[in-house]
């Protein structure tokens, strides 16, 4: 315990200062949440590049949780879905059921080029379509993969902080 406290003191604060809040209002659906948005991440068939960036965005340097966004384990606990990757044939039903399991009000964030329009995997034999072909999408984050700053900016747009 002593070593842990000493290490915390020596390391100090690693998180970068928060940049300017991006312009734009919070989507109507999330207006009553008061700045706290629980996110359920769904990997609908991605190469995991976006997942690495999401992990980085929630890590100590970019620290997305200080803006009110939080990853949760079950869609029943979630307010928003964070979907990565093109929707493969095997994951189509699962993604749709996950969307139906999220209680209203809910939004869907399509993260990365693959989620927006299948990216480099467009037309592949295992791909059923982009995320908007399966569930309605409210926010899109471009990039392959999107930088953590972009992810954080998109989440700040959801929470309004």
């Amino acid at each position: 315990m002593k070593d842990l406290l000493r290490k915390i003191r020596k390391t100090g604060r690693v998180a970068e200062d928060p940049p300017e809040r991006p312009a734009g209002d919070v989507p109507d659906a999330l207006g009553e949440l008061g700045g706290s948005v629980q996110l359920r991440h769904v990997d609908a068939g991605s190469c995991n590049g976006c997942e690495v960036e999401i992990a980085s965005a929630f890590g100590p340097v970019y620290d997305a949780e200080r803006y009110g966004a939080r990853l949760v384990a079950s869609p029943r606990h979630a307010d928003a879905l964070l979907v990565t990757g093109p929707v493969t044939r095997n994951m189509e039903v699962a993604l749709r059921r996950t969307y139906e399991a999220v209680p209203a009000p809910k939004v869907v964030v399509a993260l990365g080029d693959c989620a927006r329009d299948c990216g480099v995997f467009a037309g592949a034999y295992g791909v059923a379509g982009a995320v908007r072909d399966v569930v309605p999408v409210d926010v899109e984050v471009p990039g392959c993969p999107p930088e953590p700053e972009a992810i954080v900016a998109a989440l700040r747009g959801l929470t309004g902080r």
Binding site: S74, P75, R76, V93, A94, L95, R97, T98, E100, A101
Partner: protein, 675 residues
């Protein structure tokens, strides 16, 4: 002089003999029905006899011709009447159930129990169990005890042709029950020798004048024997082996009627014949009871064999009874009579309650076993839709065994806790130290009991069937249902209006502790010693009422059908359910040091390379650690002594003759020297 008690007891014994004859003589088709109905009549007569005795109509008889040298001396007082009534009630349920159970299941994957041995010996077992509480001399008691042991042994090994484990279980049971008999024999014979007589009246009168060493030795010897019969740690190892292997109605009789007689023996010898004793006796009883309660329920919580779970639960409940007896003795020695009476009342009420719900649970387990051929909870499931009656019966029994308010175990455990807590002021420093520990043990065992029976009921009966045999289960025949129904009705009556037992219990306790009643009242039970009240009926009414109100309130709200969240790729199949092993796994991890589970992992590599695996076998089981650490060394030592003794016999006839000659001349030399 005609006496209801005497007439009813004689009728009961006569009906048992008739049932035994019927079981031996009738043709196969009507054998189970004939023997079963006669045994049920015997049980009902025994209930009448017991109730009559409890309400004050004691009875005694002296039959000098029946047993050579000693004669048979019988006396039924309220204490004995309680145990006779309990045995009779259990016998009624088990006998009616046995009529249907004895017939082979229709789909052919099972065997019937309509052989002559089982059908003839079961009524004799019941008769022996009725004679033990009625015995009033040492020889009668021991003869009845041994008859009970032999009859139950024959019944336990009834199915030895079908399973190999039955033989081992029978061997363990035979050895331990006879070692217990030797201990009881030593104790009672010592007492009779010191008292120069063998009738219980003579022993009672002479016990005052015996030295503390003799009294202590007698108590320890008889306690060892009776505790072994009651399934108290560490003498319990026969219980979880014998009860699963016996036929289910025999398991019910053994678990709900026979183990009680261990408690009866402790009360009779410790409180009645010896008239109470020093503090260390009752501390021994209390400690043994508390350890049994904890260890028993812990083993039950991690058991996956349904009948083994119920057997360990019997250990736990008998431990609770002994806690009550020990607390009563401690308080009596300290001079606090009303709390002692309350503790004894609680213990005896727990005997009655345990008999009711354990019968029900074992009969329901037997029903499941007959319908599916399985005892393993991991392989059952989904029986609620296929066997609704059995499920309902098991639910009532499980609720009772968990000591939750709508069950009958709640009343007796609550009384026990009240007697322990309420006695904290009186009884001196010893009880001030031990009572809180006992309360803690009781609370822990009650909590584990809830977990155990939720596991047993949930994984065994609810959800979906996990194997084809569970899927193919069908409801049991009507006679089995009637047997379970009678037991369930008794459980419910004891749960809602336990006050009907209060006069009988008061009579029984006053045999050993004359004084005012510990328990009074009709709907609300008032405790004289602890100034508290409990009203199970009102609790039940309010709970049911609250649930009904909630349901009515919830009907008004709009409902929407939604899909169960099943991780998106459902549907869930039966193999994904919680099994009994997974349900109990957190408990097993917490109590890892006590349980010491064994795991076997065998990895078979391919012949070509040790790095490539062909097959892996994994086996995990929770054995009985006390058996491993305590009994196996003893058995190994006995085997080593036997092997060493083999060298005495090397085949030479001269050596054998020399042994005889040497002993003969040695004895003569001894005679010559000592005279």
């Amino acid at each position: 002089m005609t006496s209801v008690t005497g007439a009813a007891l004689s009728a009961s014994l006569g009906a048992s003999l008739l049932a035994a004859v019927a079981g031996a003589a009738l043709p196969r088709r009507v054998r189970p029905a004939g023997a079963g109905l006669c045994t049920a009549v015997a049980g009902a007569a025994a209930v009448v006899a017991g109730v009559a005795a409890m309400t004050g109509r004691s009875w005694s008889a002296w039959l000098p011709e029946l047993l050579p040298l000693a004669g048979v001396r019988l006396a039924v007082d309220p204490l004995g009447g309680l145990f006779i009534a309990v045995t009779g009630a259990v016998a009624v349920c088990a006998a009616v159930y046995g009529v249907g159970y004895a017939r082979p299941p229709r789909d052919g994957h099972g065997h019937g129990l309509d052989g002559r041995t089982v059908q003839a010996v079961l009524p004799l077992f019941v008769a022996a169990m009725l004679l033990v509480p009625a015995a009033a001399s040492v020889s009668t008691f021991l003869v009845a005890w041994e008859l009970m042991a032999l009859a139950s042994l024959l019944l336990v090994v009834a199915e030895h042709r079908h399973r190999a484990s039955v033989g081992t279980a029978g061997l363990w049971y035979a050895v331990m029950t006879h070692l217990g008999l030797v201990a009881i024999l030593a104790g009672l014979a010592g007492l009779a020798a010191a008292a120069h007589g063998e009738s219980f009246d003579r022993l009672r009168a002479a016990a005052e004048g015996l030295s503390p060493a003799v009294r202590g030795a007698v108590f320890v010897a008889t306690f060892a024997g009776f505790a072994s019969k009651a399934g108290i740690i560490p003498l319990h190892v026969w219980l979880p082996r014998a009860h699963p292997e016996a036929p289910s109605h025999v398991s019910a009789l053994m678990s709900a009627a026979m183990v009680n007689l261990g408690g009866y023996g402790i009360v009779r010898v410790g409180f009645d014949l010896l008239g109470g004793g020093p503090v260390w006796w009752w501390l021994l009883v209390l400690a043994a009871g508390a350890v049994s309660a904890l260890y028993g329920i812990l083993q039950a919580a991690v058991a996956t064999d349904l009948k083994r779970l119920l057997a360990y639960s019997t250990c736990e409940n008998m431990g609770l009874v002994l806690v009550g007896l020990g607390a009563g003795g401690l308080l009596l020695t300290a001079g606090a009579r009303p709390p002692a009476a309350l503790a004894l009342t609680a213990a005896l009420l727990h005997v009655v309650n345990h008999a009711a719900f354990k019968t029900l649970l074992f009969l329901a387990a037997g029903s499941v076993l007959r319908a599916t051929g399985l005892r393993d909870l991991d392989a059952l499931g989904g029986l609620r839709t296929r066997m609704p009656l059995t499920t309902a019966a098991f639910a009532v029994g499980a609720l009772a065994a968990s000591a939750l308010p709508l069950g009958n175990g709640f009343v007796s455990e609550w009384l026990l806790l009240q007697s322990l807590i309420g006695s904290l002021g009186e009884g001196g420093t010893i009880s001030a130290v031990t009572m809180p520990v006992a309360v803690a043990a009781l609370a822990l065992s009650a909590g584990l009991a809830v977990a155990t029976f939720v596991k047993a009921f949930g994984t065994g009966f609810l959800a979906r069937p996990r194997t084809p045999q569970a899927q193919a289960a069908a409801e049991s025949p009507a006679t089995m249902g009637v047997g379970m129904g009678v037991a369930a009705a008794c459980c419910l009556a004891l749960a809602l209006v336990p006050a009907f037992t209060a006069p009988g219990l008061a009579g029984a306790v006053q045999v050993v502790l004359p004084g005012q009643d510990a328990l009074t009242g009709q709907v609300t039970l008032r405790l004289a010693a602890a100034s508290s009240t409990v009203s199970p009926l009102l609790i039940a009414v309010s709970v049911v009422g609250a649930v009904a109100l909630l349901r009515i309130a919830m009907i008004r709200r709009a409902r929407r059908r939604a899909r169960l969240w099943d991780c998106g790729m459902g549907p869930l199949n039966a193999r994904m359910e919680y099994t009994a092993t997974s349900f109990a796994e957190p408990l097993q991890r917490v109590f890892d040091d006590v349980l010491a589970p064994e795991t076997d992992l065998n990895v078979t590599p391919l012949a070509e390379s040790a790095y490539l695996v062909e097959s892996v076998t994994y086996r995990a089981r929770v054995g009985d650690r006390i058996e491993r650490r305590l009994y196996r060394p003893v058995v190994a030592a006995a085997a080593a002594v036997g092997e060493a003794a083999r060298r005495l016999a090397n085949g030479s006839v001269h050596r054998y003759l020399a042994y005889g000659f040497g002993t003969f001349t040695g004895v003569l030399i001894l005679l010559a020297v000592t005279r």
